[in-house]
Amino acid sequence: MTGNAIIEFNHVKKQYDDNVILKDIDLEIERGKFYTLLGPSGCGKTTILNLVAGFTEATEGTITLNGKKVNDIPPNQRTVNTVFQDYALFPHMNVFENVAFGLRIKKMNKNVIKEKVAEVLKMVQLSGYEERGISEMSGGQRQRVAIARALVNEPDVLLLDEPLSALDLKLRTDMQYELRELQQRLGITFIFVTHDQEEALAMSDIIFVMKEGEIVQSGTPVDIYDEPINRYVADFIGESNIVKGTMIQDYEVSFVGHTFECVDAGMRPNEKVEVVLRPEDLVLTSVEKGKLTVQVDTQLFRGVHYEIIGYDRDGNEWMVHSTKKAKVGSEVGLYFEPEDIHVMRFGESEQEFDARLESYEEE
């Protein structure tokens, strides 16, 4: 398709015996961007990476790398390198030998190898650790060795399978910055796997949200956060309040007994829909000024904000993130803008969703 695509999946299907793991995956990876595969355990994220790296074969469909079909090319001939979930560092080699492995296979000149290894170790801030054994490295250091070992081969694409999941929170956040920064500096395409939505939002150019072997939605973090295609995505990405509603007509939706102005359109009149309101878009105000009235049930201090749970008269639960405190048991008003309302149709596919958005955004 576009000239900038480095990896393309065309109707790729993967099954083990009768178990369908990936159903009809279509995707396009552009050069130099940071992609994230996001989804719960077992949805097929690693399987997609394995298909790109060549560790498994697609049952159906074609996979192209740099415009060439690679379905039958073994992993050692693909210009792709992987950072494994468990790092898979060679325990019988020191840091230097681990990083040099790929270069030695390519029979590079010894001095060149030394130079390149030193350079890449400097990049991941591990200069001086060459002689260390793998067991003498901390989790975060091992992860950086794994990244260095992959990067030193100058791959077209770097695959990272949940490389941060084994690290503690502080180190994980640090590494998120480092990885993102590294990717931007080198301009190498990253495909990153995680089941942590915050990680995905923080790091990616493009996120693929997966569910049971399918890509449910793809887009920039902002797109996916602001315009989740369905309840699954809305729930998976960030906190959300989801209530049933009816689309009265374009730009007018009714829920919890009121009709509100909104920015969504392109649906049938009186179509049943689901409405998403993010907790941080709801503003605490007086009952008179609020568009909704809820009774505060619980309140938790979360550091940056209070997480307030309240119930409206119909018994719907509302979560509000507010920097202001509320009084438990009191009635408060909730205010929001029309653009804070996001309307989702039932069973809409990504293509239909995109088409609909385009149709009314052009006007």
Partner: protein, 269 residues
Amino acid sequence: MKQNKALYFVPYTFWLILFVIAPILLIIYQSFFNIHDDFTLENYQTYFQSGTYLKMTLNSFWYAFLITLFTLLISYPTAYLLTKTKHKQLWLLLIILPTWINLLLKAYAFIGIFSMNGTANQFLSFMGIAPQQILFTDASFLFVATYIEIPFMILPIYNALEELNPSLISASYDLGANSWQTFRRVVFPLSLTGVKSGVQAVFIPSLSLFMLTRLIGGNRVITLGTAIEQHFLVTENWGMGSTIGVFLIIAMVLTMLLTGEKKKKGAIR
């Protein structure tokens, strides 16, 4: 609490003293007495001066080496294939099974198979080849010894290969290595611990094999084991027998040290 734990070791310590330490001390003690019960270094002199004993020692090492080599050559590929098969447990059981049968019984079975009108020769005549002397040859001795030792080599190698993290192999391919390079640079080095234990388990007992040397080798192969047996049971020169025993023990300790785990820097255990 500590007292209690120490208590558990009492039976083992007892066993160790009674059946390991005491016999070794006794052997060393015995080795200083000649056949007339005089305290002397005569036995050691004999050992080094008469070429026979040194030759015997070399012979023992040579045969133990050959047995270990053949066993290794057969066992490594077998263990490797074993890790790739389905029904691993079944195959493993089949390999272990022969070790549960008494060594003598197996030796007698081979006498039957290798004798002039045994199964092996029947097969040869079926192929149109005249009966051969198979029994009482070096080859038959090596064959049977190797057969007997194979399970002890396969098991540790198999275990080492099974423990290997499969993502290391993926990583090797990922970094551009082909199957042979992956084997040479990743699989084989990481299975070396198993190979070492296997070599220990085979080489050391092979140094002192004596039943097989007699029954299958027809005493054409003389090892340290055979010599000890002769001195204790036939010539009743216990002192000389003990001296050879001392050298056997030294040889074993040396083998242990050579094949033993050297604490490698950075190796993950």
